[in-house]
């Protein structure tokens, strides 16, 4: 089975993340980036499936030069080959444009026949979580999202989706697209041997032209929505200090009652 995993290179959540002042897009140059942690689950699941039943894992990313690191990490974990779509015109693309580029890249990478596409449930920077659904639509595949468990059967995929109040078991015919949650597995670390092996694995670098996409279909200027303004969350203010002069308990209760905790 050939499995495609979509991965994203995101700013490190541990670092001081910010936005570009000129166009309100995420600053991807000023901070260290890494493979989105939510995508590590997707890579791990694909590797497990490939290890269990044979097959090849291809990782696809869209992003500037640094995004190659996300592909590299996935290859180090054990994926077989990578695709990196890199084109200046992509900067600022919204979810519909991103799903368009991903769809074309996946088709090209699989000769139009992806058998299984796996994604994370959202990116850790944008956290929109809509790309998987849009991508499935563009590829004409059934979508089973937010999988916390995935099993492959004869020509079908079955997932478990944990909701607040219930658990659903959902089945889809293959080929299909599955997005996975952080409950589905425990992603492996690359091994040193994996790191060495990754250096020899093939990575395709494609532009929009390679995918037959017109620059007018993507990018900031063609986004359906626009970030108009960004304000940093104000620093937390100092809390109220209650001094106990014999009536500390009462004051505390009043404080909590005023906020409807009591």
């Amino acid at each position: 089975m050939n499995i495609v995993v979509c991965v994203k290179h995101v700013p490190d959540a541990q670092a001081d993340r910010g936005f570009n002042e000129s166009d309100n897009t995420v600053d991807r140059a000023g901070v260290d980036g890494l493979l989105s942690e939510l995508d590590e689950y997707a890579v791990e699941e694909a590797l497990k499936l490939a290890e269990a039943s044979g097959g090849e894992v291809t990782v696809v990313t869209i992003g500037p030069d640094q995004a190659a690191d996300a592909v590299k990490k996935a290859l180090q974990m054990g994926a077989d080959k990578g695709v990196h779509v890199n084109d200046e015109a992509i900067h600022g693309s919204d979810a519909p444009a991103t799903s368009l580029i991903l769809a074309e890249a996946i088709k090209k990478a699989t000769d139009g026949n992806p058998e299984l596409v796996i994604t994370g449930m959202a990116s850790t920077d944008g956290t929109m979580g809509v790309v998987p659904a849009m991508l499935a639509e563009r590829l004409g595949l059934p979508q089973v999202t937010y999988a916390s468990e995935l099993t492959l059967g004869d020509g079908k995929v079955t997932i478990r989706r944990d909701n607040d109040a219930n658990t659903e078991t959902i089945e889809a015919s293959l080929p299909a697209l599955v997005s996975v949650t952080d409950q589905i597995n425990e992603p492996r670390y690359p091994s040193f041997k994996g790191i060495m092996a990754a250096k020899k694995k093939p990575v395709e670098s494609w532009t929009l032209a390679d995918l037959g996409i017109d620059a007018g279909q993507v990018g900031l200027a063609n986004a359906w929505t626009k970030v108009v303004e960004i304000a940093k969350r104000p620093p937390r203010e100092q809390g109220e200090i209650v001094k106990d002069e014999g009536d500390g308990g009462t004051k505390l209760a009043e404080f909590l009652a005023a906020r409807k905790f009591l």
Binding site: Q76, Y189, S191, F192, I195
Partner: protein
């Protein structure tokens, strides 16, 4: 601001692989070691607790056997790279870094002195990342004076004479009887690299054996209650006529002492690197605290008296790193490095003691509490001046080299 030191030391590597390896190490350290060290060390201080899961993670990532040959499952890395990985691990969790170094030491006799058949038979397991070794050299009455050991391997008349060296379990050729002291990983190890006497000729009467952890007749004392390094479980290992194949004797009978000393030359570099990482972490905490803590209306760091203390600590850490890296480069180049390794061990472990002591000073009362990690670093630094040859023994080694 957090006071768990996060090490972002400048590093040079002879190859690109070194940088990839560093990235991998830092990721594992950040996600697996730093979050767990405090609780695990505290629990181990009260009773038995051994970070087997951490060693498994390091093993799977290929970080447990970096300096050993690739053909048998090792990482094939030069010491210059391997030791910097040990240093990074030590910056977060000293017990684990010491464990990695000790494990490396346990395989050294086989990689360096084993016959081709022994390497074939033993190394794939030892270097797989799934096994952990222990190094049994010291005894209650033979610490610095290794040649005073009394643990004895007696030839078992009818047994395998080792002919063929095929590693297969034939009849035992030796039975080991005696007692080893202070053995790291005792009770948890998969095998014990054991030195035992095969004749009475003091230093020339010792031989080296690889004893399986599940061998009959092997038992362990209670864990020593130590001042620190709690997750490095240390116990006595008791050998009651433990049967060992001749195929598991590494080198010739009587070659044990040179094997032990050669292994210690390499092992000392691991301890030097670990001590450097520990010192760096203490320094990082001291620097962060000195810039934030205000007294007399300004940061304490703006007092030259304190700033110069930090400068001295910085110099001690950089000096320690330079010393172990130079010895490592000599080793990697195939040159003699015994003197430089002893110098590195001496400088780096003394630096760790000094830096951790002064880091507590920089933090004042806070440094003396368990709210900050420096009191733990201080307790962990002390042992580095003692094991793998006390620093007096290092001076003995250095002076013998220097004076000929």
């Amino acid at each position: 601001m957090t006071y768990s030191a996060s090490m972002a030391v400048q590093r040079l590597f002879p190859t690109d692989e070194g940088h990839d390896l560093l990235d991998l190490t830092r990721e594992v350290v950040a996600k697996e070691l730093r979050p767990k060290v405090d609780a695990a060390e505290a629990a181990a201080a009260l009773g038995e607790e051994f970070p087997t899961d951490i060693f498994r993670i390091l093993g799977r990532a290929g970080l447990l056997s970096l300096p050993h040959p690739e053909e048998f499952g090792g990482g094939g890395q030069p010491y210059e790279v391997y030791l910097q990985v040990v240093e990074e691990i030590a910056s977060a969790w000293m017990s684990v870094a010491v464990g990695v170094s000790v494990h490396s030491l346990t395989a050294f006799p086989v990689t360096t002195f084993g016959s081709p058949a022994q390497r074939e038979a033993l190394l794939p397991g030892m270097l797989s990342g799934h096994q952990l070794g222990a190094y049994g050299l010291s005894e209650p009455l033979a610490g610095s004076d290794v040649a005073a050991m009394t643990t004895r391997a007696t030839r078992d008349g009818a047994g395998d004479d080792g002919a063929g060296d095929d590693g297969a379990t034939d009849d035992p050729a030796y039975r080991i009887r005696g007692r080893k002291a202070w053995i790291s990983h005792a009770g948890h190890a998969d095998y014990y690299t054991t030195f035992a006497r095969t004749s009475d000729a003091r230093g020339r009467g010792i031989s080296c054996f690889i004893v399986p952890g599940d061998a009959p007749g092997l038992s362990f004392g209670a864990p020593e209650k130590k001042m620190g390094l709690h997750c490095d479980t240390v116990r006595e290992v008791i050998y009651e006529d433990v049967p060992v194949d001749a195929a598991r004797r590494i080198g010739d009978e009587g070659q044990g002492m040179p094997i032990a000393l050669a292994a210690l030359d390499a092992g000392r570099l691991g301890i030097a690197a670990a001590a450097t990482g520990l010192a760096q972490s203490a320094l990082d905490v001291a620097v962060a605290y000195a810039k934030e803590r205000e007294q007399f209306g300004r940061a304490i760091a703006s007092n030259q008296g304190l700033a110069f203390l930090i400068a001295d600590l910085e110099a001690a850490v950089l000096g320690a790193r330079a010393a172990y890296l130079f010895a490592a480069r000599l080793k990697d180049a195939g040159r003699p490095y015994g003197k430089e390794a002893a110098v590195a061990k001496l400088l780096a472990t003394d630096a760790a003691m000094r830096v951790t002591t002064d880091a507590i000073q920089v933090l004042g009362g806070a440094g003396y509490t368990q709210d900050f990690p420096v009191e733990r670093y201080f307790r962990e630094a002390k042992v580095t001046q003692i094991f793998e040859g006390t620093n007096q023994i290092q001076r003995l080694v250095i002076s013998r080299h220097a004076l000929g």
